[in-house]
Amino acid sequence: MEAADARRIDELVVAAQAGDRDAFRLLVLATERDLRIAIAAHAGSRDAADEALQHTYVAAFEKLAQYRPSLSFCAWLRAIARNHLVDRWRESRRLAALDGAVLDELVAASAEDALERADAEREAEAQTRKLRACLERLPERSRQLLERRYQDGQSLDQLAQRFHRTAKLLSVALFRVRQVLRRCLETGA
């Protein structure tokens, strides 16, 4: 984040702390995209990311007086989001105790680790820049498939119904597009 942006966010925080709700709205608008990118990587689904985002801003609003400008506001939001995500994954693991739910624990650990690192914001920004470039290089059909799945937030079963294909076939197609993206992220090609 640019220094000017950071200064503006600090000004908005001070105004919001003084009770200006519109300043808080501007804070949400200024930070939600970056926070969504940081959260979505560890949320497991769009619904979970939405819920975490909403929870984070509501908790931030309620605890606004506890925020100290010495800390980056975005880092503070990420800390709230991280705690929420880790709690959610652990809760999910507890509820699914009979099934083991190793994957939930794995994602919880990954979220805890990734969101806690000091360079998390910088790394997320760099990855996002690269990913954006890689997405632009995808063939049209691959991009359309990704858009249906991720832009419209449709489940595999909804997609299968829409495209008259089996869920497995679509999952394989999506998996291949992600492999292309992964290679692009690793090699830049």
Binding site: L29, A49, Q54, L64, L131, D157
Partner: protein
Amino acid sequence: MSPDLALLIDRWRDRTLDPADRRRLDATCADPAARAEIASDIVLQGRIDALLDARDGDAVWRAVETSLRGVRSDSGPQRIADAVGRRLADAPAPRGRPRSLTPWVLALAAGLALAIAAWMLSGTSVRAEAPVVVLAQCRDTRIDQSSADTSTATPLRAGSSLRVGAGGSALLRYDDGTTATLGPDTIATIDAGGDAQDTSRQKILRLEQGSLSAAVTRQPEGRPLRLVTPHGEAIVRGTRFMLAITAAGTRLEVEEGAVELVRDGQAVLVRGGESSLAGPGSALAVQPAATDLLRLDVEDGETPQHLREGTIVPGPPRDGNRYCIAGQKQPGHEGPANQVVIARRDQPLLTYAPGTRLSFDCWFTGELERVYLGIWHPTLRQEVRLIDEPLARGRWLRISVLLDDFRLSSDPARGFAPGDAIWDLNVATSAEADGLLYIDNLVLTQPHRAGDDAPRGP
């Protein structure tokens, strides 16, 4: 990563993973290399999701703003201190007192302001009324007369009312992991005991009509979850259970743990596998939750005597299961495409009583198919049906329905009446489909009848 594993991850993201697939996925996670691959794929999918998400920031703000209704922020300590200072400074000086006291008043104001500021900084600040529960998922549900937004989780405060429609459901999630699922035609009000600003208040759910099932984590000592119905109250300390309001009263079935059921000052403790009914004119008593009327697992590979249509086949593979029942094709028939019929030859399968439950595993294919369940009603001489639209195709899914919900297609207000003889049971796919249908582990249970065993009183 194999395509099979990718499919499991997609299912996991969509929350449509069934328990067997979850176990496969968890088993795969035991391999460190696979773990790293899976974690990396989940992170990548999350990033793609966030980047391609077409919604703008205003959508997020609208969702946050809805959650913030009625919530006050901890405003800055300086603002509070200033306000207190202003109030004291603006107060008229008491009559007869020398004006020279004004500096003392201001000094007192400043001191008080600093004390309040220090108090707030110590974390014991004035807090807003906390949400009691989050409406995590829902279908056909209204909150306080408005349609609930199904795309975002909605925090609910004490006093919020929920009305779930005939085809709906609503999942409530509390901060401590407790979940409650409201069934169709349910009216409930969120409530909470204790300090309105406390985030861990006693959970209270008031159920006017309908049903709910819940998984309740261990509740704090002295603050059990309270479920209040027109007939009594269930006090829950940590358990899995089902509660339904019927014409006879409030019926409680406990799967695991224990729930105290209270009515008119009388109380019984209902444990796992037990049930109780709180209703007018009946004393509270505890009974076994249900009696098996029929159980078909066909694991011996033999055709059971009650199977009138359908064949025993290995079917789609499943851990620990060898055989299942395949639906019988009905070529050229205008009715179901393929079906399984269960019936006895010379006598009814069962006599209907409220709370009779049919459960079975189901596997079917085809995009256009629906599963319908039909029961021939000999008195009405019509089939009584329940159309079910399972979320998943091409994998095993457990279906569990109450016969109370079956309705005549010619008169949806009518269903079974207690004492009706049920002769046959038909599980089928719809006529236009040409897919496959398999069912397995079919169980018919009925609430325990009075007199089957001596009930345990309060």
